[in-house]
């Protein structure tokens, strides 16, 4: 439970609303969803907006408290940088949560001066780390360690249901805050459910399985991890029915444990050494098995690294081979082109040579007919020479074309070889990738086994400590049962066993519980309840209402009448705002208040129906003892206690007897048992 200063909504209204929700047994997921989503507009459920309005919409304060109260993680230290000592608390997660909340703010209606929650549709969450210079980061809305949520997009100008303007409360079409509330309300976050289960456990047992309840991280694991997972599942299965869940806890063997050490404990004394030895042997086993796993893990890491190197080399080779294939194919294409060009050239030259040969032949015939014409003969001669020359050229061209063609087959072979080599490399690479994948899978399952082994080791080590403390005590008690050593060992043993949940933890009452318990024990509350019941019956009798609402009204009336009395306890015992102190701390103020305060003093004065009026009327001292112990400590006195009461009353009569009874009641009200084991 936490206290907070009130700003916009009266604490009574908030309490009454909460009271109603609890009385109607509203599922916790819905209730918390509404508390986060409420904008305070609906008059009937306006009080739900207290969470937001009391924090004046300060987004960092809200981020911290949503983290703490809804998710069990205090991310405060991750506001300016990743958490310096908690590995799981990242600045990115802080701002992921902040992104759900920082568009919301308090809007005060200018006319009514009433405060509401407003929200904008824009504004990104940017941040820097004070540990890292110059880098800027941004965060999309997400729960710690999870993916950002999907957000709908709207056309420009369509983002708002009610657009921002002067003196207008803007409402976006998509509210990030409501989206967060919805995740909780729908029970979609296991962190949330787990936190609720842990907090409900803490309500009953005075300490969470994860403790502090808002410091859930891997270095602060639950004392009983499987139990917490089971409780988380159950809470979801029970549809977040807090009443049913608390009932289950109340009925559990764990809850009904005694605060006393088991009587048969001393019987273990002779075996204590053996028990310690056995436990130590188990530790050695667990250590060995963990060491084996660690070794295997090392080998795996080496294999993976070798495979990774091989894969990298293959990839490099493949790349090189791809270049070679491309080169060979380009070269082949060039050669083919050259061959074709040479063939064309050869053909052209051949045609040319043939043409001139024909001309030369014709000219030779003409020259034979015109023997005397030297000009013709000369021409025929020249043509003949020319034809010979051209033939030679054509021959040369053909030869070259043949040469070019001859280059093709080797080049073709080369390209084919390059392609084949590339294909082989691809096969190799695929095989290596597959092998790496299976190695990595193996490593994952190995890591899981290692984590299990580590947990096992912690568990057996804890058992060794349990046994050692038992052994220490048994030995010390065997030497000198009353000695300082035995006393010290006993305190350590009981402390340890209660931390390990083998015996019940001592649980100091919180200020309200203490106040109400004193009111109840002194018999001040009962008449108030009776009067409220009567008044309510008179009133409701006429209206003919059903019974359950009746008892709520009665409780509320009795509560209201007692509020000021309880406030007196609060003034002395509460630390003011914020989370309650982690551990109870006795103060001299409390003792002074109980001893000299007019509240407790006044309740010990006899008045109608009160304990100090009732008990003096009992004649039999032993019966007085029973009434005192039943009324104040809710149990019957043991024989020694009965005798102590009889002793205390001896020789005191009349007013003196009443005074003696008052003294005893005060003694029991201020006893350690009343305060710590009520």
């Amino acid at each position: 439970m936490e206290r907070h200063r009130q700003t916009s909504i009266k604490p009574e209204a908030w309490r009454e609303w909460l009271y109603r929700q609890v009385a109607e047994n509203r599922p916790l997921n819905e209730l918390l969803g509404e508390i986060l989503a409420s904008d305070g507009v609906d008059e009937n459920s306006r009080a739900a907006a207290t969470f937001f309005l009391d924090r004046e919409g300060e987004s960092h304060l809200l981020t911290r408290d949503v983290g703490r109260i809804f998710l069990g993680v205090d991310l405060q230290c991750a506001q300016c940088h990743d958490h310096p000592v908690i590995a799981d608390y990242y600045q990115q997660d802080y701002y992921g949560l902040n992104a759900f909340l920082n568009r919301s703010s308090v809007f005060t209606d200018p006319q009514t001066k009433q405060a509401y929650v407003a929200e904008k549709a824009e504004g990104e969450t940017n941040f820097v780390s004070v540990f890292i210079d110059g880098e800027k980061y941004s965060a999309a809305p997400h729960l710690p360690g999870e993916k950002p949520i999907d957000e709908p997009t709207f056309a420009q100008g369509e983002e708002y249901r009610v657009k921002p303007a002067k003196d207008v409360r803007p409402e976006p079409r998509f509210s990030r805050r409501a989206a967060l509330a919805e995740i909780f309300a729908q029970g979609q976050s296991r962190q949330f459910t787990r936190n609720l289960a842990n907090r409900l456990w803490a309500v009953m047992f005075g300490r969470g399985l994860v403790d502090p309840v808002d410091l859930n991280h891997s270095d602060n694991p639950p004392t009983h991890p499987q139990l917490l997972e089971l409780l988380t599942d159950k809470l979801a299965e029970m549809q977040y029915d807090a009443r049913a869940f608390l009932r289950e806890l109340a009925l559990s063997g764990a809850y009904q444990q005694s605060h006393r050490m088991p009587d048969e404990l001393l019987a273990l004394a002779p075996q204590a050494e053996q028990i310690v030895a056995d436990a130590r042997a188990k530790v050695s086993q667990a250590e060995e098995s963990l060491a084996g796993l660690s070794k295997g893990s090392l080998q795996l890491r080496e294999q993976i690294s070798a495979a990774e190197k091989q894969l990298q080399a293959l990839e490099e080779k493949e790349q090189l081979s791809q270049t070679m294939v491309a080169d060979a194919e380009r070269k082949l294409a060039e050669l083919i082109q050259a061959r074709d060009a040479a063939a064309q050239e050869a053909a052209a030259r051949d045609e040319e040579a043939q043409t001139v040969q024909r001309l030369a032949a014709d000219a030779a015939q003409v020259a034979a007919k015109l023997k005397d014409n030297p000009l013709v003969a000369e021409t025929a001669e020249r043509l003949q020479t020319h034809a010979q020359q051209l033939t030679a050229v054509a021959d040369e061209a053909r030869r070259q074309a043949e040469q070019a063609a001859a280059k093709i087959p080797p080049s073709e072979q080369k390209a084919a070889a390059a392609r084949a080599s590339l294909a082989q490399l691809a096969v190799d690479r695929r095989q290596t990738t597959d092998r790496l994948g299976s190695l990595q899978n193996e490593r994952t399952s190995h890591e899981i086994r290692q984590a299990e082994a580590r947990r096992e080791l912690l568990a057996v080590r804890a058992k060794v400590q349990d046994a050692e403390l038992l052994g220490e005590y048994c030995q010390a008690a065997a030497d000198r049962p009353d000695g300082e050593q035995a006393t010290t060992a006993w305190s350590r043993l009981t402390q340890r066993w209660s931390e390990r949940a083998f015996i019940a933890r001592l649980r100091p009452l919180d200020p309200e519980q203490f106040g109400f318990c004193v009111l109840q024990a002194t018999g001040v509350l009962a008449p108030r309840r009776a009067a409220a019941e009567k008044a309510d019956q008179d009133k409701q009798g006429a209206a003919g209402e059903s019974a359950p609402s009746l008892s709520i009204a009665v409780e509320q009336a009795a509560y209201k009448q007692s509020e000021r009395d309880v406030q007196a306890f609060l003034a002395i015992l509460s630390h003011g705002e914020g989370p309650a102190a982690h551990e109870y701390e006795a103060t001299v103020d409390e003792a002074l208040f109980l001893a000299n305060g007019r509240q407790v003093g006044g309740w010990l004065e006899p008045r109608a129906g009160s304990l100090t009026e009732r008990v003096p009327q009992i004649a039999e001292p032993a019966a007085v003892a029973e009434e005192l112990y039943l009324s104040v400590l809710s149990r019957l006195p043991e024989d020694a206690e009965r005798a102590a009461v009889v002793d205390f009353l001896a020789g005191r009569n009349g007013e003196e007897r009443t005074a003696a009874i008052q003294e005893m009641i005060w003694g029991l009200l201020t006893s350690v048992e009343f305060r710590f084991n009520h």
Partner: protein, 430 residues
């Protein structure tokens, strides 16, 4: 099963307390790997030898540095008052503090404070916690910090007492994560703490009888289970008895008429005398508030009046602490939430001014007669050695021998004692 304890002798009780102390520290260390339990053992011996105490005089509303520790006569901002020499050669303060001037050799001045804050509540918070306000974290105030670190656990008197005006008698909640035990006990109007007298109709014998019955019931229960918390609870009733026996410590009328006259019979005089009584009886942290210095109108008249009331009782208190040898182990600080503007406004007032103002210190761990830093000729800016609330907070801790870079365990979380990005004013430390 029950444990057969030895008798409840004093020896036993002491040994048990020592053991439980160890138990608590041990639990802290086991509970989380990251936690460093407060490094008290190193301090312990030294503190046992010489118990350190702290006196803070808070001049509420913001005293004018120009009418007190840093006068600027003859300048446009100086106002009408002269500067007078003090018992520290070369150091002058305002003529409004003639008695204090004669005790100046016990004191030191920091004249270069710049807190960059002109809001009363924020300035006060900064000066008392050494930090700026943060939305999601409340820091403990000086008194709570010192009470937690320095106050002896078995003292019947509270470790953190504020003497103020008006009602009181109850705890405030200024200890934040340190726990209610260390919060200040406010003695409104110098009245004793509440619930320290027995109710009418209950005599001492009856009180003893009912406590005896309580112990009887507890003894039986504690055979089965006893923890540090149950021990602290049963012990708190013994403490309550002892506090009631010492109730007279809070009553200044127990001082002789002449002593009361030396301090003056007005509120602040009585409060200073009460502070002396409390310090003499070993209360670790005493804060006296003097109000009100918020002089937006008629600054000079108001300072004649306020400092006229402040001067003699304060100087008497310093002289008495010095005479009794208490000043050697008691750190004295005179602070405000801020100073006042050099500019004199049109109503002869001075306004809020966090930019260049002064704090006076003295006693334990402080370099006597030191003057740290200075402002410019007419006091409108710090001219040398600028410091702020965080530097001062570190300095207070160091002055009484506490490592100000240490952490304190706050319900499972290590919190730095002082702002980790700041440091003490080393040249001010003795």
């Amino acid at each position: 099963m029950l444990c057969r304890y030895a008798c409840r002798s004093t020896d036993h009780l002491l040994a048990r307390r020592a053991f439980l102390g160890g138990l608590v520290a041990g639990a802290g260390a086991v509970g989380s790997g990251v936690l460093r339990p407060f490094s008290r053992p190193a301090l312990c011996q030294e503190l046992e030898n010489r118990r350190k105490q702290i006196l803070v005089v808070f001049l509420h509303g913001g005293v004018s540095q120009l009418e007190s520790w840093d006068p600027k006569p003859g300048t446009d901002t100086g106002g009408p008052f002269r500067a007078i020499p003090t018992s520290t050669p070369g150091v002058h303060i305002s003529e409004l503090l003639p008695h204090t001037a004669r005790q100046m050799h016990h004191l030191a001045l920091v004249r270069s404070v710049n807190t960059r804050e002109n809001d009363h509540a924020k300035g006060k918070y900064m000066m008392e916690t050494g930090r700026r306000e943060e939305a999601a974290t409340a820091y403990p105030k000086l008194g709570a910090v010192f009470s937690r670190i320095l106050a002896p656990a078995d003292s019947p008197l509270p470790g953190n007492v504020h003497i103020s005006y008006g009602d009181g008698g109850a705890r405030s909640n200024d200890a934040a994560y340190l726990g209610a035990k260390y919060a200040s006990l406010v003695l409104g109007g110098g009245k004793p703490p509440q619930n320290t007298t027995r109710l009418d109709g209950l005599d001492a014998e009856a009180d003893q009888r009912r406590n005896a019955f309580r112990r009887l019931a507890d003894d039986r229960f504690l055979l089965a289970r006893r923890t540090a918390a149950t021990d602290a609870y049963t012990y708190s009733f013994e403490q309550a008895q002892r506090l009631m026996e010492q109730r007279n410590v809070f009553d200044v009328t127990r001082e002789s008429e002449s002593e009361q006259d030396r301090y003056g019979k007005h509120d602040f005089g009585r409060h200073c005398l009460l502070a002396r009584r409390l310090l003499e009886h070993g209360v670790t942290y005493v804060q006296v508030t003097h109000s009100n210095y918020d002089t937006h109108y008629e600054n000079f008249d108001f300072h004649i009046e306020q400092l006229g009331e402040f001067d003699r009782p304060f100087a008497t208190l310093i002289a008495d602490l010095a005479d009794r040898g208490l000043l050697e182990t008691t750190l004295v600080v005179v602070m405000s939430e801020f100073g006042r503007t050099p500019r004199i406004n049109d109503r002869y007032g001075r306004d809020h001014w966090g930019t260049a103002w002064s704090v006076a210190l003295g006693g334990c761990g402080v370099q006597k007669e030191a003057v740290i830093g200075k402002t410019n000729a007419n006091g409108t800016a710090v001219a040398d050695r600028e410091v702020d609330h965080a530097n001062l907070f570190h300095t207070y801790l160091q002055a009484v021998g506490v490592d100000s870079t240490d952490h304190i365990d706050a319900g499972g979380r290590p919190m730095p004692l002082a702002d980790p990005s700041s440091e003490p004013i080393k040249e001010l430390l003795a």
